[in-house]
């Protein structure tokens, strides 16, 4: 196959070359729903008399958004999904096992796959060189039953990050900066392809942040070619044999190319109520917060928790702050227990929540009061996102979050590096 990563990956699943704009039917390797979207998918398949899955191991039902369930209605939704699994063999990822996107990159997705998920942040797996994209419940229901999906092949924007990351600056700052620049609809319908020497030197847990937030610029996918860093990540998770080289052609055609010199980027904060409302942290210093959240599919990985622990070690977070930490998966939780990270965080005043989506979706575990302010490492700050339209949500990196928790107001993390 020829062209951009998107063209090659889609082409492999259609069985021929594809051009941007073309409508195709593509073969699916991994299909997933979560507890907020899956019940609708199951009902679609029940109505169609298609209660089956094309590959039980790779059709996954994640119980992560209401985990554990805070209300009877959601407990009943969980029962519906477990029952579907019993009937079809589809895999259930139970409460406490973690956020779907983290579990997908740890366990289920391999380079070269085509992944569809009834969750907009399915694009996270693009960091592994898979074409991964979010869709609705009906699309994914059909993908689970039939093993295929309709797609419009996207154009691609190439995003080239160059230079060494300044101390205290992380992938989260890069992607917030980029979204602030291009806008929340700057890449609508398009694939993003992240490349450049900064990416070549970036470990996979950071690449996943860039891919995760591609959708916040409107993109269909956030793709990264595979390399030794990809291989290392797979090896750490006991599946080096899943590695495959996936890279775009040198003469691939891009809709446009955007170059970003990361050496000039400061820690970034997205201010209420849109992700593209970004500012350098120095412009929002002193903003009082009631709650700090470190976790989610964006920044709840072991390295994120470690950075936070390094900053709060031996200190106490401000009395005025509720400091919530949500490991993205059970594996992250176990590793953070084993190396003392959790102990350090708890000693600083953190409340550890079970692996899952935590307070990000506004269902439970840290809903804001009227007029309250949170700084979170999640990916969205829309009005009402965390359960209260009268709450104010700021987004930043785990380092900025930890520094902010200590001070009780938004703070610059660079003093700790």
């Amino acid at each position: 196959m020829k062209g951009t990563l998107a063209q090659k990956l889609i082409g492999e699943h259609v069985g021929r070359e594809v051009k941007p704009g073309e409508f195709v039917i593509a073969k699916v390797d991994v299909a997933m729903v979560q507890d907020g979207t899956g019940p609708l998918s199951v009902r679609v398949l029940q109505r169609l008399g298609l209660e089956k899955v094309f590959d039980p191991k790779h059709c996954i039902l994640f119980l992560d958004h209401a985990s554990p369930s805070p209300r009877k209605e959601l407990s009943n939704d969980h029962m519906l999904l477990r029952e579907f699994s019993r009937k079809t063999g589809a895999t259930v990822s139970e409460i406490g096992q973690g956020v779907c996107h983290q579990r997908l990159i740890e366990t289920f997705v391999k380079p070269g796959d085509l992944v569809v998920g009834a969750d907009s942040h399915t694009c996270t797996s693009g960091a592994l060189g898979a074409f991964a994209t979010g869709m609705g419940s009906t699309d994914v229901a059909l993908a689970m039953a039939l093993g295929k999906v309709w797609l419009r092949a996207p154009q691609t924007i190439k995003v080239v990050f160059t230079g060494e990351m300044p101390p205290g600056v992380f992938a989260k700052d890069l992607i917030l900066y980029f979204i602030g620049m291009i806008g929340a609809d700057g890449a609508t319908y398009k694939a993003l392809e992240y490349t450049g020497d900064t990416i070549a030197n970036m470990p996979l847990h950071e690449r996943a942040v860039l891919s995760n937030m591609a959708v916040e610029a409107g993109a269909k996918a956030g793709l990264i070619a595979t390399d030794e860093k990809t291989r290392e990540f797979l090896a750490e998770h006991g599946r080096e044999s899943d590695f495959r080289e996936i890279k775009p052609d040198e003469d691939a055609e891009y809709e446009r190319v955007i170059e970003i010199d990361v050496t000039k980027i400061e820690p970034q904060v997205a201010c209420p109520h849109t992700v593209d409302n970004t500012k350098p942290v120095t412009e929002v210093l002193g903003t009082k917060v009631n709650q700090v959240v470190i976790g989610t599919c964006t920044n709840g990985r072991l390295e994120d928790l470690r950075v936070a622990a390094q900053i709060v070690k031996g200190k106490r977070v401000a009395d005025s702050v509720r400091f919530l930490v949500v490991p993205a998966s059970r594996k992250v939780y176990m590793d953070a227990l084993a190396d003392g990270t959790i102990q350090t965080l708890v000693e600083s005043g953190a409340t550890i929540l079970p692996p899952g989506c935590g307070p990000c979706v506004g269902v439970h575990q840290g809903v804001l009061g009227d007029g309250e302010v949170v700084l979170s490492t999640q990916n969205r700050n829309f009005k009402g996102r965390m359960g209260n339209p009268k709450g104010l949500i700021y987004l930043a990196s785990p380092a900025t979050a930890a520094a902010t928790a200590l001070k009780g107001e938004i703070d610059d993390p660079r003093k700790y590096f």
């Binding site: 209401a66 869709m135 829309f382 359960g387």
Partner: protein, 166 residues
């Protein structure tokens, strides 16, 4: 297909959290109940006063955010005949097509709250009957129009017994 209805105006960046707020997560398996809160966080008066056939008219990037298909479904469930915006977020657009809710892109600055609109889907024309002007929209690609005309992707698969592009 010709649609006719009264315009309700919304701004830019109306997210799926505005349309189907996360605090009603527990109502997702009860769409009629969830629909009582449709677009509640964008404007409070809409959910109680919207009439069968009315048209949601918005600015840029309508439906950004989560993949929740419940968002277009509850808009349709409340009787809205189509959504017209300057642009749509990708997943919302796709979901709307899949459930048979027409979504049209045009310059919505030429439509005001309460304007009577007539939409000709096949020919790509919106007639603003109140203002006596015509707006054009990019015709919906044939594959998508077919899904809409057959009542959504579920009906499409039921009818054709498979997912295919003819």
């Amino acid at each position: 297909m010709i649609l006719r209805g009264k315009a309700w105006k919304f701004g830019d960046d109306i997210s799926t959290d505005h349309i189907a707020p996360g605090r009603y997560f527990h109502l997702r398996s009860n769409l009629p109940e969830l629909a009582k809160h449709v677009l509640e966080d964008a404007r409070e008066d809409f959910k109680d006063k919207v009439q069968e056939g009315d048209i949601v008219v918005a600015g840029r990037n309508f439906g950004l955010g989560s993949s929740r298909e419940h968002a277009p479904r509850i808009i349709k469930l409340r009787g809205v005949s189509c959504v017209i915006a300057k642009s749509f977020a990708r997943i919302f657009f796709r979901n709307a097509i899949n459930i048979g809710l027409p979504v049209l892109e045009t310059d919505t600055d030429k439509i005001d709250e309460g304007d009577e609109l007539e939409v000709d889907l096949e020919n790509g024309v919106i007639r603003n009957l109140t203002k006596g002007i015509e707006l054009r929209f990019e015709p919906i690609p044939p594959f998508m129009l077919k899904i809409i005309n057959e009542g959504g992707i579920e009906e499409y698969v039921k009818k054709h017994g498979d997912l295919k592009i003819e």
